[in-house]
């Protein structure tokens, strides 16, 4: 196979530049293989975050030719012959060095979400049909590509007021868990900023686990929010019943 040219964004948040490398590639290689090759042969301190190289851990998120991708799943033979491959870190999060960004904000948001809360006398019996719906959300590998691509975070930097698609997937998982008793609607309305999402489905498009984030998580949560806070008939009922 012919050599491939890589342009990799290196440096810190303040000072960074693209560096060009020629990489002799082997059949079946993915972008992460090439980054490892560059580390071993040309730039031993080139920073990249990765763990499993099997699309299971969600660590090696980056922007490859402008698209948010897992580097371990992006095959080199998917690019045209002679096409340069340009790798940048996630734009939505502050860069630490080279391809590594500080994604700790996502973990801070996770702390604010009310955990699974079963009833005291729960009978631990569940139907597979209920599982099928919720297990989709449990597939999330926390790669944060959805957070990266979401314009509310990426372009408007609403981080303090908007929890982002990953958090909504997590909340949908808990809200639709057949044995959960808590409500997270208050969080979604106030702190989580669900209303900022205008369902452009960018998150769904980049999800490497094919979770239907918009259709199956965000829209049902929006409906629940409307039912709870904005349904005029329910409001009337509340006024008259005094509830």
């Amino acid at each position: 196979m012919p050599d491939v040219t890589f342009r990799i964004s290196t440096g810190s948040a303040e000072q960074n530049e693209e560096k060009t490398y020629r990489v002799p590639v082997a059949e079946g290689w993915v972008v992460l293989d090439a980054v490892h090759y560059i580390q071993a042969h040309e730039a031993p301190d080139l920073a990249v975050r990765w763990n499993c190289k099997a699309a299971k851990c969600g660590s090696c998120s980056a922007e490859v030719n402008g698209k948010p991708k897992l580097m371990c799943k992006t095959r080199l033979d998917d690019f045209a012959d002679g096409e340069e491959i340009v790798v940048y870190p996630l734009k939505t999060f502050p860069r630490i060095k080279d391809l590594v960004t500080d994604v700790s904000w996502n973990y801070e948001v996770a702390k604010k979400i009310k955990p699974f809360t079963p009833a005291k006398d729960t009978k631990w019996s569940m139907d597979q049909r209920d599982m099928d719906r919720v297990q989709e959300f449990r597939k999330c590998i926390e790669c944060f590509l959805c957070q990266d691509v979401c314009h509310v975070l990426r372009n408007h930097d609403k981080k303090p007021e908007f929890a982002g698609p990953r958090s909504f997937v997590r909340i949908a998982n808990l809200e639709m868990h057949p044995l959960d008793t808590a409500s997270r609607l208050d969080f979604l309305k106030n702190e989580g900023g669900l209303g900022y999402c205008n369902i452009t489905k960018c998150c769904t498009e980049v999800c490497p686990e094919d979770i239907h984030i918009t259709d199956n998580a965000i829209i049902p949560l929006k409906e629940r929010l409307v039912d709870e806070y904005y349904d005029p008939i329910a409001k009337l009922f509340k006024v008259f019943s005094g509830k």
Partner: protein, 572 residues
């Protein structure tokens, strides 16, 4: 002189995979102050890659299952090398641990009656593995991660521990660095739990992530802890073999559990010749050797593997039961597993050996130091059954949490790590930056992987192992001249230079133990000693640091009490 960020905890847990998280949750529940330090982001640890399921004798599908049957299967699978008490505790406590996960939000696949579904796996005589499709590890790590967050356990992410610190004979802290900026951190603790996993990165072809650099084994060894059973490295029979970029990537045993068939290039179901009774669901050591033999004798696939076939099963059901495998092959190898067979071959997967621990408490031979999960030895003997690792993490993670907390309560008087130890450790860490020339850490690692893969791999012979030991010594000398360039900020070359120290020590431990065991048992196969020997069944190898050298000794294996031994007589 550099000043250090300092943190103090009653119990410090190192490693945030299944065992570390479960230990931290338990220690916290015991009411002590716990800190959890991990070298990756939370939730990325190797547990996330576990696929097929967690073994627990709940009897939801096969009602005749119980802890005795699970215990027997585990011991038989381990070729009787297991620490019987660990295997017993594991079999007894696993069901409770799995049910507990459900109470913390885990969502396992269900039986028609609404209980947790269990699937067949190699070496398990009952359908025993609770699972979520083929992504059980992700479910478990996410559940534990969320529980630890709920319990407000402080987590130090992307912080690599490099040295355990000691005062007198007791462990009292650890030195670490932040990956993000390279600055050192000193942790002080009354007790420490190691949950740092295995050694896979010593080998070229492995299913393990970069994290598997034997940190815990290496650090505890440096302190004088004992390592046992290090010759027993599991080669999982089914890793991907093509394309080269994904060589070694795991193909879950659940493929065979769900009915997948192994065939050679003549279309023969070759397991008929190796284990006609259990066929594809034989134990991993036997299937791995069978595949190796088929390939070696010219009956392999185009790319040096054999075929694993699920095309006779209903395509939709395959996609539902094995979704990750379906996507893995489709995305990475252009193979639609519902229509074409997979190509698979053995891949380094798991370290059965590890730190010698007390079965009841998980205490190592160093006071205050505990170990749980893959870093601990004994539980799986000569060969681990699939699914027994996830349950091991939960059972012994919890026990480690309980007993490390108890130790910290009984030793309230904390000890401060001596400054001279900290200074010596940091000097050692920074030396590679000072060299103007020297070996590249990547080159040393590359050569190490070749040595272990080719000379101490799935089939071993005296001459090869001796060559490996000579080469390892050479690599150790080169490591003394290793040179790192760049800054301390997120510098993978520097990180690897440190990892190599542990990788080389544990690789040597593997080679020495493999050379000494002159028989073939479980995952350890000696071409020059092909038979299982009853004498060797009584002997455990112990590795310990001895000055600058490594000492290997023999220890009689603990014998099980008559009431348990009887279980095995009945089966004959």
């Amino acid at each position: 002189m550099e000043t250090f960020e300092k943190h103090e905890h009653d119990v410090l847990v190192i490693g945030a995979g299944g065992a570390g998280l479960r230990a931290a949750i338990e220690a916290k529940a015991q009411g002590v102050n716990v800190g959890l330090v991990c070298k990756s982001l939370l939730g990325k640890a190797h547990t996330v890659m576990a696929e097929g399921g967690v073994a627990a004798a709940m009897g939801n599908v096969d009602p005749q299952d119980n802890w005795q049957v699970h215990f027997k299967d585990t011991m038989a699978g381990g070729k009787m090398m297991n620490n019987w008490r660990m295997a017993q505790l594991h079999a007894q406590q696993a069901p409770e641990r799995v049910l507990e996960l459900e109470k913390w939000g885990a969502l396992f696949d269900r039986t028609p009656s609404g209980t947790i579904l269990q699937r067949a796996f190699g070496g398990h005589t009952c359908k025993r593995l609770a699972h979520v499709g083929d992504r059980t590890g992700l479910e478990i790590i996410r559940t534990l991660q969320e529980r630890a967050v709920e319990a407000q356990v402080p987590v130090y992410m992307e912080c690599t521990v490099t040295h355990l610190l000691r005062a007198g004979d007791r462990v009292c802290g650890a030195l670490a660095y932040w990956r993000s900026n390279g600055k050192f951190v000193v942790f002080t603790a009354k007790s420490i739990i190691l949950a740092t996993g295995g050694v896979g990165k010593s080998f070229r072809i492995t299913s393990n992530s970069w994290e598997y650099t034997s940190d815990g084994l290496g650090m505890a060894y440096a302190l004088g802890a004992e390592l046992i059973d290090m010759e027993f490295v599991q080669f999982h029979p089914t890793g991907m073999v093509w394309p080269p970029g994904v060589k070694g990537l795991l193909v879950t045993e659940a493929v065979r559990g769900e009915g997948g068939r192994l065939t050679n290039n003549k279309g023969e179901r070759f397991m008929e010749r190796y284990d006609p009774k259990r066929m594809e669901l034989s134990t991993r050591d036997q299937v791995a050797r069978a595949i190796y033999t088929e390939v070696k004798e010219g009956r392999g696939s185009e790319h040096g593997g054999v075929f694993l076939d699920v095309t006779h099963l209903d395509g939709e059901s395959v996609k539902k039961k094995l979704p990750s495998m379906y996507h893995q092959f489709k995305d990475l190898a252009d193979v639609d597993i519902t229509k074409q067979p997979m190509e698979v071959g053995p891949t380094t997967h798991y370290m059965m050996g590890g730190l010698r621990v007390d079965a009841e408490t998980t205490a190592t031979t160093i006071p205050g130091l505990f170990a749980a999960g893959e870093v601990a030895g004994g539980m799986h003997g000569g060969n681990r059954l699939g699914g027994n690792s996830l349950s091991d993490l939960l059972v012994f993670g919890r026990l480690a949490g309980i007993h490390a907390a108890e130790f910290s309560r009984q030793n309230k008087q904390g000890i401060t790590p001596p400054d001279v130890e900290i200074q010596a450790a940091t000097r050692q860490m920074l030396e590679p930056f000072d060299r103007k020339e020297g070996a590249s850490p990547y080159e040393i690692h590359d050569e190490l992987q070749d040595v272990m893969q080719n000379l101490v791999g799935i089939m071993r012979i005296e001459e090869d192992i001796k060559t490996a030991l000579t080469k390892l010594e050479g690599l150790k000398q080169r490591l003394k001249t290793v040179r790192v360039t760049g800054s301390r900020i997120y510098n993978p070359g520097w990180h690897l230079a440190y990892d190599l120290r542990n990788l080389l020590n544990t690789s040597e431990a593997i080679a020495r133990s493999a050379l000494a065991r002159e028989e073939s048992r479980g995952a350890h196969t000696r071409l020059d000693h092909p038979k299982l020997s009853p004498e060797w069944e009584k002997i455990t190898h112990v590795i310990q640091k001895d000055g600058d050298g490594m000492n290997l000794s023999q220890m009689p294996k603990p014998q099980m009490p008559p009431e348990l031994a009887k279980l095995f007589e009945e089966s004959h």
